[in-house]
Assembly symmetry: C2
Homo-oligomer: 162 residues x 2
């Protein structure tokens, strides 16, 4: 092997050098609570990428990736790196282990999210494109997300203010 000990330099990076955030843009505390144990590092932004986002996301035991939702225009992809996540869709639940992946094509009206029901942190990569005009529909809460204002403007399902 040719292992060296130099830290990566751009256009490469070590994700550990990217600040993690637990911020959620959801417009009420009730909506944000299940995400409190979610931490994301925006790798794509740190690398100067524009047309899609890449997050390295960690879920503490019990944490959710998001409220259950689907997108009208945004394709999404996740790849599990560590721990286990439970994927919840209309078809029910399935546990995804490291090396497994999932994809959520735009326009498929099947709300999805990931929940860490394990006892150790779970980590995964998540990728989503940034096409304009996307709307996020939420399956179980009175919420909608519209792109066009950064990052998303949240309303109730009928478009009214939260």
């Amino acid at each position: 092997m040719t292992t060296n000990n130099q830290p990566p330099r751009l256009p490469a990076l070590d994700p550990a050098t990217v600040a993690a955030t637990s911020r959620s843009g959801y417009p009420s505390e009730e909506l944000r609570v299940p995400l409190a144990g979610r931490s994301r590092r925006a790798l794509g932004d740190a690398l100067g990428l524009v047309t899609f986002g890449v997050n390295l996301t960690e879920l503490a035991p019990g944490a959710w990736s998001s409220q259950r939702h689907w997108h009208t225009r945004q394709d999404e992809f996740i790849y599990v790196l560590e721990g286990e996540v439970t994927l919840i869709t209309n078809a029910g639940e399935q546990v995804l282990t490291p090396g497994m992946c999932a994809g959520f094509p735009a326009g498929v009206a099947d709300g999805h999210h990931l929940v860490n029901r394990g006892s150790v942190p779970a980590r995964f990569l998540e990728v989503g494109d940034r096409l304009p005009g996307d709307v996020g529909h939420y399956s179980e809460v009175d919420l909608a997300a519209r792109s066009g204002r950064a990052p998303y403007a949240f309303t109730r399902r009928d478009g009214s203010a939260y």
Copy 2:
């Protein structure tokens, strides 16, 4: 932990169930030879994603990811999963180990590729968007790639036929 033994079902999948291909669209044997040890599984396509591609790519010892190139419109991202890859750009070479990532924003005229100089296979995820009108410029060979015809039409740098 909640580990189960069920294989994933869509919208999730096990990458091992996706066919691997060593095909290269490069228009000459000389251009293709360094890629002979490259194998890709098109995870995004298998999941029905359209707006970006996700490949799980394996490089045998000695193999290259591609000829050195950059894109006019396509953002690219890679994340190393196993083994080691040497990233080559205008700034020189650096070895990337598992958990490291790199990004290549559209329009940055710095040709890049990955070479496995290690003694074991290397595996990484690669993501690229699919915006129309992209041109791939090749740094070290007389080659250009234009999107618009699937997957890319290769010509010489001046646009003439290969």
